[in-house]
Subunit: 513 residues, 2 copies
């Protein structure tokens, strides 16, 4: 401890006593706006240079597009198509950027969960697409419907997660039937904006049908807002595969939002420099945005990317690194340059919810804040670079996210808040426990941690010297215990029952390769 402050450990008893009878603090994390001004890693000229390089890449080097339908769309717009290569002139890109919307309404069955996807919004999505699930009760195992359902219930339980995600893959369900279960589960147990994979036209259309049917939406209501999003990963470098291209087209035509996400690992599938990896990411994202706007001008689409570096020792992707954060901030500059809302990502390469995992994820979250990312994917529970969804990791990440969400509320500094009278009330060396200024505010004053243990060493040791990740087990168990199904859950499931029951008889919907 610092010198001259020895008494600071004493005197907390009053507070603790008061707290036991205090009303529970209920902060509102449902709609957040970025608390910090965006930061820069590049000069304006450098941003322009990266943008111009990306345009040159598309025009001169081209992008390989596997789907004939997508190539035809590009060709019709004037792009040069040579076998599977598509060379996209900058006029096509410029036109697309003119029609792509800067503000996109995202709806949910619960109106209080709606979001406006635009610059300044701060939206979180939990870990997505993990083939495995990890928790300390059952260990690490392949994702199944049970884990998918449980993790969605956890996502539903914390307001700081705004959009649903395919947390962990329900691999116990054949892939041609999986989307029925994934979409139904989201609607039955949650009331937040939904997510679906783009794995071919039939699955995509059926997902749209299920949303409309389940939420009882007219065609016009469904088309008027984004009810469901999908992540579109280009296959860096410069390749757009069949399901991704088709997903862009189908989501655009249905007015639903694809989240464009080149995954550019500097030094592997992208140039080794931050600016080079971003030039590639930007080029691929622009190509996808162009396809969406050519499929339907004005269709909702999210710019974005998920770029980081590889670890030089293991060759594995690394996250929460300086390079990752520089790419987040640089991507934010590019997004503002083209005037579109965008997605970034935070997550951990760590295999467990330890200090490494926390450092990686918290850095990624701060990087997203510095970058003013509209959406931060993989914000909670993303272990092993996405190979597993960690229940405990989810909880320790939620703590970090809630801490940052609290930063969205600026402290006040009115005379009453500063409290000169309180300062006058307390004698030198005294304390503020019982002042009116304190009593009026103590119930709501501070963030209340969900997993952090503030007990002193002795009390902590006596309770078993349990680390935060181990304590997190009880927190997610408790969250599942106290999970409440939203009132929309049962009616939605009823409306979907017949559709889903009949679907397998028609052979389900095969995945497009």
């Amino acid at each position: 401890m610092e010198q001259g402050t020895r008494k600071r450990r004493s005197g907390g008893r009053n507070r603790a006593k008061q707290a036991q009878s205090a009303p529970v603090r209920t902060p509102d994390y449902r709609q957040l706006r970025h608390p910090f001004r965006p930061q820069n890693v590049f000069s304006d000229d450098e941003v322009i240079a990266i943008h111009k390089t990306a345009l040159r890449v598309l025009e001169e080097l081209g992008i390989k597009v596997l789907l004939p339908e997508a190539r035809e769309i590009f060709a019709k717009a004037g792009a040069t198509v040579d076998d599977q290569m598509v060379f996209i002139g900058k006029d096509i890109v410029t036109d697309a950027l003119r029609t792509a919307p800067a503000s996109i309404p995202i709806s949910a069955v619960n109106l209080a969960r709606a979001q406006t996807y635009e610059e300044g919004a701060l939206i979180f999505m939990a870990g997505a697409g993990c083939p495995n699930a990890t928790d300390y009760k059952r260990g690490r195992r392949p994702g199944d419907l049970k884990a998918f359902t449980e993790t969605l219930k956890l996502v539903q339980s914390f307001d700081v997660v705004h959009l649903l995600s395919p947390t962990t893959e329900p691999q116990d369900i054949p892939v041609h039937l999986r989307h029925y279960a994934m979409t139904r589960t989201q609607m039955e147990y949650c009331d937040k904006p939904m997510f679906a994979y783009a794995r071919g036209r039939k699955q995509v259309q059926q997902n749209f049908e299920m949303v409309q049917l389940g939420l009882n939406l007219s065609d016009a209501d469904f088309a008027a807002s984004t009810w469901i999003t999908t992540v579109i990963n280009s296959n860096s470098p410069r390749l757009l595969d069949n399901p991704m291209a088709q997903g862009i087209i189908d989501y655009a035509r249905a007015g639903q939002m694809p989240i464009i996400t080149p995954f550019c690992l500097a030094g592997a599938m992208a140039p080794i420099t931050v600016s080079g990896a971003l030039a590639l990411q930007h080029a691929e994202a622009l190509a996808c945005i162009a396809l969406s706007q050519l499929a339907r001008a004005g269709a909702p689409v999210s710019y974005g990317g998920f770029s980081s570096n590889v670890d030089m020792k293991s060759g594995s992707p690394a996250f929460g690194t300086p390079e990752h954060m520089k790419m987040q901030i640089g991507a934010g500059q590019l997004a503002r340059h083209i005037g579109l809302p965008w997605r970034s990502a935070a997550g951990a390469a760590s295999n467990i919810a330890d200090a490494q995992g926390a450092t990686e994820s918290v850095n990624g979250l701060w990087g997203a804040l510095m970058a003013n990312a509209t959406l931060t994917v993989h914000s909670a529970g993303w272990l092993e670079g996405g190979l597993s969804f960690g229940y405990e990791k989810f909880i320790t990440d939620i703590e970090a996210m809630q801490t940052l969400a609290e930063m969205c509320v600026q402290p006040k500094a009115s005379d009453a808040e500063i409290g000169f009278d309180a300062l006058a009330d307390v004698q030198p060396g005294g304390h503020f426990f019982a002042t009116e200024h304190t009593m009026e505010r103590y119930a709501e004053a501070f963030y209340a941690p969900i997993v952090a243990d503030l007990n002193n060493y002795g009390a902590w040791e006596e309770a078993g010297a349990i680390t935060a990740d181990r304590r997190a087990t009880a927190v997610w168990e408790q969250a599942l215990d106290s999970y409440t199904q939203p009132p929309t859950g049962e009616p939605v499931a009823d409306r979907l029952a017949e559709y889903i029951e009949k679907a397998p008889n028609d052979g389900g919907a095969p995945v497009l390769e």
Copy 2:
């Protein structure tokens, strides 16, 4: 993992192979400048309101000053003194702010370790003042000279720690003799700017004498720069005790820098609001700065504070919380308002180097970046809210600090860096492992982690499923094994030997109560 990116796990082998023969990356963390623009939590008007309230506190409520000599100095300058209470008019404060330097040279026996203490500088100090030490080899125990020496060797080993600190208290040495050992140890084993406690005039003077003697400095050389710093904690609310007041006076007269640090725990020793706690912190800091400038106009002094909130459940101090970060950022606004460099603090309340500890410390580090703090104290190794110095925590924190230090280097975006030619070289779906653009840069491209394990789950599990904190044990052991005494160490120790040998015969230097 995201869809469409399945191949990203393959292909790292080339990189890994190259890395084994790669030259070691040697980034320079010795002199850092803040990479980010400062952020705000208050409007300009609110900053002025807090500042004015602080002036009113000093003028109307006064501050209790135990040391008669300090009261006399204040009285001579026109302050009203009533018994032990000193009422400081705002003219006295304004005059002090006029003479307090905005840029302070901090020197060290190794010139490469010198710092300029001013706005924009980013300076880190490790955990300070911990009564205990914790590591996984020997457990938690009261600090002793061995732990103090070891932790200073660790501090010396990482360039990202810029100033020495009283890491852990050598309690095996009687307090009237302890300063001899603490000062000698710093000079014998380190070559960075030094630290000493202000525990009474005789100790302070002897520390100055030892620095001059050990480093062979003339009176003029010693007085021309800050060679040694001390932390001055006011005893919030509104009390300045004897050793602290005397320390300010003595450091001012010797031209050495006191780091003013009210420790204002909102809801306990300070008002429960962010603005109220900051008003108190600011008032106390201004009183201390005034005393320093009255003792010697133009004397080096650091503005600062360490404010956070208490946990409502346990009554314990909490760190890395939203309130802590808001106070960091608000303190930065106040520092810029009065135009002085300043200290903040990052650290953990956690009892161990787990996810909680990492989240707390990393948040505190980011808060200091957002606040543009000149100096961030307790940046590494500070466990249990300062009650123990953790060796493993030191290592996991160093990783976070080095990651942030890397952010000080902006990525480049010249044509060569972006690498259009490299983009042209690699076919769609290919990789950049062997491109010239990669080969030229791979050795220096990315931050190389010291404790993060990027291996996949299987390899990690096979190696024992060891968490980051457990891996950190080997890292600090290795750092101690490869620790090299700076060339100045032996000669300095020789020069001090006689002084220190004789000191106990004179009764040492008793602590001022």
